[in-house]
């Protein structure tokens, strides 16, 4: 149904924008192993985006590329957290921690979705996200406990990214309509809090005292970053309407 497509679109957009952000690390990481790790994660996440977008596109007779390259900013439904800049490595790690723990919980539940395609996509994706989550956790601990400098950078990363946490858990009308198919984001909050609290405790870090941004990416109201991300991502495709590559 179109509702399922709209739901798949939200999952696809998050993954697409996150992959775009992560891929910028390739050839710029702190060490070669991380060029590979972040690149692998980006590649996995791009794969999830492609699956979700391809599935969503069926409802409107659109391809993954139609959806990725030919929508305008306010047609995108990505969360603000995935739009946030890479910053230094610690910022990227904290963003990964926040998002991959969330995605892991979400995709795990979605493997039981009444929508078989969504369940199948998530069954594959969840195994990969499990690794992303582990990668983020290990680095959070390492940098949280490493040096004074790294701990300070991690605290800073938490401070600048924390405002975008609540948005992930906002229930929409769409979620409620898709009972049995979609997962109510709010239902994941408790488990997410528990896991994040445990990781931060293991890392000598704390939940920062920041406000929460009035973010409404699902409604097409995006952070100021998305316009720049899309300008770069879409520039070539848009110069050649109708082209095959």
């Amino acid at each position: 149904s179109e509702d399922v497509a709209r739901y798949a679109l939200t999952l696809g957009d998050d993954a697409l924008i996150l992959a775009q952000r992560l891929s910028h690390w390739i050839s710029r990481a702190p060490e070669l192993e991380e060029d590979i790790a972040l690149g692998n994660i980006a590649l996995d996440v791009l794969g999830h985006a492609r699956s979700f977008l391809t599935y969503a596109g069926l409802a409107w007779d659109k391809t993954e590329d139609d959806l990725a390259y030919w929508r305008e900013e306010d047609d995108f439904t990505s969360l603000w957290i995935v739009e946030q800049p890479n910053g230094h490595f610690g910022v990227t790690i904290i963003r990964q921690l926040i998002v991959s723990v969330f995605q892991h919980l979400l995709y795990s539940k979605l493997t039981e979705s009444a929508d078989e395609t969504l369940a199948a996509i998530c069954a594959k994706a969840v195994k990969e996200v499990d690794y992303h989550r582990d990668h983020a956790i290990q680095w959070t601990i390492r940098l949280g406990l490493g040096t004074e400098e790294s701990a300070a950078k991690m605290r800073h990363a938490l401070e600048i990214l924390w405002p975008y946490v609540d948005e992930m858990f906002q229930d929409l009308e769409l979620h409620r309509k898709l009972d049995g198919i979609a997962v109510l984001p709010s239902s994941l909050r408790e488990a997410w809090d528990k896991e994040i609290n445990a990781v931060l405790a293991d890392s000598g870090l704390e939940i920062p005292k920041t406000g929460q941004a009035m973010a409404n990416g699902r409604g097409g109201e995006h952070s100021e970053h998305l316009g720049f991300i899309l300008a770069e991502m879409q520039v070539l495709a848009r110069k050649h309407p109708g082209a095959s590559w």
Partner: protein
């Protein structure tokens, strides 16, 4: 004396030298230089392609390109490992790169200006690399030869992907075809120069051949490569920017235009279009990542301590 004899014997029957085996200093030094340069080339070679990941014109191509650049990082890793078996550690090798004491393939000092360059790099640059590397799978030094087997497998996959990018473009719109031809025009000559100077000007080659590291001369390899791409370019529906190119039935040789070796030397010396940019990107990543590496080391040290305690 005895060691040298044993080494010579192994080389003589085209066997493999392994890390635990005795080897002449010059052999070790030559191999360390060659293997690490190769590793550096993989690492620097990520940059021109990374330049187009965020702008790839379809998600499928973006995905393939990301996987390719990943593979290159992986090749870098195997090759550094192979080099380390010769007794120089990775930090030192990396330091040689960052300080400019070590070289890398000069082709990567040309910018990737358009999407079609992703095709031309795959088809021509990886193609030339394969022509160079396939014989290296039989290199006398075991870890190097084995690394090359793995590398070559993936490279030929990359070359086919590059060919496909160009094919899609050349079958596409006028603008796409023009983009493809322009990329081929820019990469043809630098790719031919990847095999190194003409044989008569390549004094080191002889020793490498005697040691069973190198199996064919620069010109022999260049010949093979030109022959291959001269055929393939027809399938692409594109042309090579070399009106003189022809197969001479008498000499059984491909005749190609004179290559601009002055430019080649200038690029090697650091004066190519993007040498400075490539090196600075590497240095910047190293500089910006210092705190991460330090923290990881500090954390690892604490773990060891707490295990001991």
């Amino acid at each position: 004396e005895q060691s040298q004899a044993r080494f010579d014997a192994l080389i003589g029957k085209d066997s493999r030298i392994e890390p635990r085996d005795w080897m002449p200093d010059a052999y070790r030094k030559t191999l360390t230089r060659q293997v690490s340069q190769h590793a550096h080339s993989e690492i620097i070679g990520m940059q021109p392609e990374a330049n187009w990941i965020t702008r790839a014109p379809s998600l499928k191509r973006k995905s393939i390109l990301m996987a390719k650049v990943q593979d290159e990082a992986g090749h870098g890793l195997y090759l550094y490992s192979a080099a380390e078996t010769l007794g120089t550690d990775r930090d030192e090798l990396n330091d040689q790169l960052l300080t400019g004491r070590a070289k890398y393939s000069s082709i990567f000092n040309y910018p990737a200006r358009s999407w079609a360059d992703m095709g031309a790099i795959g088809w021509l640059v990886d193609g030339a690399a394969i022509a160079n590397q396939v014989p290296l799978c039989r290199a006398s030094y075991g870890p190097y030869g084995r690394a090359m087997v793995r590398v070559c497998k993936e490279e030929s996959f990359h070359q086919r992907q590059g060919f496909e990018i160009l094919l899609s473009l050349s079958r596409g719109s006028e603008a796409q075809k023009k983009m493809a031809q322009d990329a081929v025009n820019r990469f043809y000559e630098p790719a031919l120069m990847m095999f190194g100077p003409p044989d008569e000007q390549s004094p080191n080659s002889k020793q490498s051949m005697a040691w069973n590291i190198k199996r064919f001369s620069n010109d022999e390899l260049r010949q093979r490569f030109v022959g291959m791409i001269a055929e393939q370019v027809k399938v692409l529906g594109l042309t090579l920017p070399d009106p003189e190119l022809r197969y001479d039935e008498e000499t059984k040789q491909w005749i190609h235009k004179d290559l601009n070796w002055d430019e080649f030397m200038a690029v090697i010396k650091g004066n190519g279009p993007v040498n400075a940019q490539r090196m600075e990107r590497r240095r910047e990543a190293h500089r910006e990542g210092a705190w991460v590496r330090e923290a990881a080391a500090a954390y690892a040290a604490k773990q060891v301590q707490s295990e001991v305690a």
